[in-house]
């Protein structure tokens, strides 16, 4: 595109969103060229900040006329490079659209725009004794809409109803600029009761799509109440095989709500007091920037090592909240049943592990607003994350493979952070493994990237499934399913004939 043509596009963009909300300043573009991952940086040509749906529509229509790529962007929190423009273009920063449009306290749901953060929504919901479920390790500054749209599981995902499908409906600007409402509310006057139909379900074509199928600008999500009585219990385990087996037993008796296991590294991170200067940024969710996180002080590392030394390899966290009637009685029978099950099955149940006081309170806070676990990014400055689903009995093989590859590359296995959480009563598990890395050490970045790439491929053969195929995972998945990929591409061409929506992602 010639400079003249670019100027023309910028003028038109400015006319759509207002001059104050359009930018081509290189310093501004630079901020949008990277995220918290090690994905390669690339600047957009322009950044616009629309304030309403009609402006998004106008920008997308202009992009079609000028054949410029469009990349949607919400809070700027991404650990996978999803919003980095692969080939430049117009980046649509949706952070100005940050209204909580509705909170239904009778049926427990809320309608939000893409700029609404977990911290913002939870502050509003607290007034009504409700809360939004936030995935473990997601900063409170992250966009609720984008997080749910990217299908990141929440800690309650073991529950079929309250923790699984959390989206009620969505409204999107499609690649041709049309608005498309998906779910029951496509009928004028109907309620937020289901994301499908009416007639045919479309919404999951936009979920985990990294903005390639359209720009979702409104979402209704399900909420849960804040517990009236809440008990959190801990059990130490030596290896992941035993943890997953225990979790399955718990889940198949449908006990508790949040249930997950963290390894020694992740729990030690949570238990290590942060450097005082970082406390504010951690709680605000701004600790991890596009240049990584500030590395820990020597004193903090020492505190971490002390905690690490006395923790078990794996800790199972069992949360029993009660939010409705007779809450004390509910927690009582659940705790009794849980302790009976543990005694029968041969694992211990404690109020803490490693003799840390008030671990239950810490974990409750972390489930509502997970700021402590962000500290792991300061261990070295950043981290490469492996996120996948696997059946419980496959996780050990995956962990072993990862450790073997790490050992071969001289990467310390003790530095790999991890947590696993069951979905659907333990039918399957969502797993996250972290590879901390110093972003300012080029050699280390190269080695960790190589380990990440090798491990990503190797664990697929051991049962890992990347349902959100970011970066190199896309090829690993799509190369194994030709017909699926072909029809996804055909559908993409039908919806987005000019292929303007976030090109270069997934199989597009």
């Amino acid at each position: 595109m010639t400079t003249e043509a670019k100027t023309d596009v910028f003028e038109q963009l400015s006319a759509i969103v207002g001059a104050a909300n359009a930018s081509k300043d290189p310093a501004v573009l630079e901020k949008y060229s990277r995220d918290q991952s090690l994905a390669s940086a690339r600047k957009p040509n322009f950044v616009v900040k629309p304030g309403k749906a009609e402006e998004i529509q106008a920008v997308v229509k202009l992009a079609n006329q000028t054949l410029m790529p469009v990349v949607p962007y919400s809070s700027g929190t991404s650990f996978a490079g999803a919003a980095i423009p692969a080939v430049g273009g117009i980046l649509i920063d949706l952070s100005r659209m940050n209204k909580i449009l509705e909170v239904d306290t009778i049926h427990w749901h809320a309608t939000v725009e893409p700029g609404v953060t977990f911290a913002q929504l939870n502050a509003e919901l607290k007034k009504h004794n409700l809360r939004v479920q936030i995935p473990l390790a997601t900063p409170p500054s992250a966009s609720v809409l984008s997080t749910y749209l990217e299908r990141e599981p929440v800690p309650g995902s073991s529950d079929f109803v309250f923790g699984n499908e959390m989206i009620n409906d969505i409204i999107a600007v499609m690649p041709n600029g049309e608005s498309f409402t998906m779910g029951n509310i496509a009928i004028k006057g109907a309620n937020h009761t289901h994301p499908g139909g009416p007639g045919l379900d479309f919404y999951r074509l936009l979920v985990a799509a990294q903005g390639t199928m359209g720009i979702v600008y409104q979402m209704n999500i399900r909420l849960i109440p804040y517990p009236k009585v809440w008990k959190v219990l801990f059990s130490p385990f030596e290896c992941i095989s035993d943890v997953q087996a225990a979790i399955k037993k718990i889940q198949r008796k449908e006990l508790g709500y949040e249930c997950f296991a963290v390894n020694r590294f992740d729990l030690a991170v949570m238990l290590t007091d942060e450097d005082a200067a970082d406390a504010k940024a951690l709680k605000a969710g701004t600790y991890i920037g596009i240049n990584g996180a500030k590395p820990w002080s020597a004193a903090m590392r020492k505190r971490f090592e002390a905690a690490f030394a006395i923790l078990p390899p794996w800790t199972l966290v069992m949360s029993i909240p009660a939010w409705a009637r007779r809450p004390e009685e509910k927690v009582a029978w659940q705790e009794t049943d849980y302790r009976d099950l543990a005694a029968e099955s041969g694992w211990d149940v404690f109020n803490t592990v490693g003799s840390f006081p008030s671990l239950d309170k810490l974990m409750m806070e972390e489930m509502v607003s997970p700021w402590r676990i962000q500290k792991k990014f300061g261990f070295k400055g950043t981290s490469q994350q492996l996120m996948f689903h696997a059946l419980g009995d496959k996780i050990k093989g995956i962990e072993d493979t990862l450790k073997e590859l790490a050992a071969r590359q001289g990467y310390p296995a003790d530095s790999i952070g991890s947590y696993v959480q069951p979905i659907e009563r333990g039918r399957s598990f969502y797993c996250v493994f972290d590879l901390p890395c110093d972003p300012n050490n080029a050699d280390e970045v190269t080695r960790v990237k190589a380990l990440f790439n090798e491990a990503s491929a190797a664990i697929v053969d051991k049962g890992a499934f990347y349902d959100r195929p970011y970066g190199i995972w896309a090829d690993l998945m799509y190369h194994r399913n030709a017909v699926y990929t072909d029809y996804l591409k055909k559908l993409k061409r039908e919806f987005d004939p000019n292929l303007i929506m976030n090109p270069g992602k997934l199989c597009f």
């Binding site: 299908r151 079929f160 309620n191 045919l200 696997a390 559908l491």
Partner: protein, 515 residues
């Protein structure tokens, strides 16, 4: 009329015993009590009867049939258990072939460790439940439909709003993976099953999820599902000797069933909502008078008589609790009775409660709902989704359509309150208004009522999952914006020649053909 060489080509795929152009066999595959189908029969519409019937036994045979169909311009209509009541599997074009899936009837695997089943499309609710319950598992619910209904097509057509969906969610969310033969003959596998066939790890994607287009209401219009990976749930009850006393089966172990009556619908609705939000009960269902009378009595005449006498009151609430321990069952019972006491309901007297034992049975293994079809014509008018608090609006609207159309002979059951199932704690399957009448005499008036109810539901702002035929001419214009455009886009991508079950549901004839 399909040429003999085309029938021969099909016979080479499935064997000569499994394809037929015989008139009696073709007619036997075109039964459906939907009133609009009756009208077509009365008008002697020749397209109601397919030109051939074929019974493949493998995914590969289905694929080969698709390729032959493409070459010779056939229309393929896949059929599951064959007892659809809404006209979904009745042909509408010349050169239609019914693809009867009854030979794809195997349960391929039950994975107890990971709580999943893998089976073919002709496996019924009854079979899967019998096989899984032995192993301490079950599929989590049963629709208001005969036990012979196939899980795959029933859920794909009706969404899986089950009587136990309060705890286990909608049935559509049990599809972990599908093998779908596309109209082109290509074989599509979804989720982790697509990356590693048979792997149930995760149900969506990778990335955008194509399975979404098949789970609900595509009704064979985008391809044929030949294998399903399906989520199972823990069945806490072990053996359940239901055969010993058919009409009064024992409540399964670790389950408790409760019936309450209320003087007014508002109270019943409030109690129902409160139970859902209290986190107890696997099933919360508000039944209506006609449901009660049809399920409570074994004979049609007695159903009608007791209905007319008001023996079956309209505001009954049925609650099912399941517990893995005595502690849980006792806790949930206490909470339930707290709520009922607070709002003012009372347990059903023993005589009436005992009549509903059949219903208790149905909620776990289905069966007696088929009694609803006894009166002759049975028209389902659309299933809505909403809040239970919307029921008054729904009821008033439905009465405004039904009452002016009633004439002598159409059952008074048509005038009763709708019924409601809770799903996913706080949401409801709302407003199914079934219409009963004489098969021949009332087909026209009931077709009109069904159409008015469907259109009106949308106009009245009542959410629904589109379900019955025919609504094609007005649906997409009322839902939107742009819903119809994307439906047609999906059809263009997956079935550009309009081979699969044409004219059904949202996939009415492509615009170029309409002109």
């Amino acid at each position: 009329m399909i040429e003999s060489h085309v029938i021969q080509a099909l016979a080479e795929i499935v064997g000569p015993d499994y394809v037929s152009a015989d008139r009696e066999i073709r007619q036997a595959h075109t039964k459906d009590p939907a009133p609009n189908i009756t009208l077509r029969l009365l008008r002697k519409d020749p397209t109601v009867v397919p030109d051939a019937v074929i019974l493949p036994s493998t995914t590969e045979e289905v694929s080969a049939i698709m390729r032959v169909s493409n070459r010779f311009g056939l229309k393929i209509i896949p059929v599951g258990s064959g007892d659809n009541l809404t006209g979904l599997c009745i042909p509408s074009r010349p050169r239609s072939v019914i693809m009867d899936l009854r030979r794809l009837d195997k349960i391929l695997e039950i994975d107890e460790e990971n709580q999943t089943a893998r089976f073919q499309p002709f496996v019924s609710y009854a079979r899967l439940q019998a096989e899984t319950m032995k192993r301490g598992l079950w599929n989590g619910g049963t629709p208001a439909a005969p036990a012979s209904n196939t899980i795959c097509s029933n859920t794909m057509a009706y969404g899986g709003d089950w009587q136990t969906s309060n705890a286990y969610g909608l049935g559509t969310r049990s599809f972990l993976g599908m093998t779908i033969v596309l109209p082109s003959g290509e074989i599509l596998r979804t989720g982790s099953h697509g990356v590693n066939p048979g792997d149930p790890t995760f149900w969506y994607g990778p990335g955008p999820d194509l399975k979404t287009l098949y789970e609900m209401l595509s009704c064979g219009a985008l391809g044929v599902c030949t294998e399903v990976l399906w989520k199972l749930h823990t069945w806490s009850s072990g053996d359940w000797p239901i055969e010993e006393e058919y009409h009064h089966p024992p409540v399964p172990k670790n389950h408790r069933c409760y019936w309450f009556r209320f003087d007014d619908p508002d109270t019943a609705a409030k109690v129902s909502h409160e139970i859902c939000m209290s986190g107890i009960a696997i099933g919360v269902n508000l039944t209506m008078r006609s449901v009660n009378s049809f399920c409570g009595e074994s004979h049609q005449a007695l159903s009608n008589k007791l209905f007319d006498e008001g023996y079956y009151e309209p505001h009954w609430l049925y609650v099912m609790n399941e517990g893995f321990s005595r502690g849980q069952l006792d806790y949930e019972e206490k909470v339930l009775f707290d709520i009922v006491k607070e709002f003012g309901g009372e347990p059903l007297d023993e005589e009436r409660r005992r009549k509903m034992d059949n219903y208790n049975f149905d909620c776990f293994r289905s069966g007696d709902f088929v009694r609803w079809a006894r009166p002759g014509i049975y028209s389902i008018t659309g299933f809505g989704r909403g809040y239970v608090q919307d029921r008054e609006k729904v009821h008033k609207f439905q009465q405004s359509i039904v009452e002016p159309n009633l004439k002598e002979g159409i059952l008074s059951a048509n005038t009763t309150w709708p019924w409601y199932y809770a799903y996913e704690r706080g949401y409801y399957w709302l407003d199914e208004r079934d219409l009963y009448g004489d098969q021949l005499r009332d087909a026209a008036v009931i077709t009109k009522m069904a159409g008015d109810l469907g259109k009106g539901l949308v106009d009245a702002g009542i959410g629904w999952l589109a379900l019955f035929e025919p609504f094609v001419h007005w649906h997409s214009a009322r839902v939107g914006p742009n819903f119809g455009n994307y439906v047609r886009a999906a059809k263009r991508v997956f079935d550009p020649k309009d081979t699969m079950n044409p004219d059904k549901m949202v996939f009415f004839s492509p615009p170029e053909k309409k002109a």
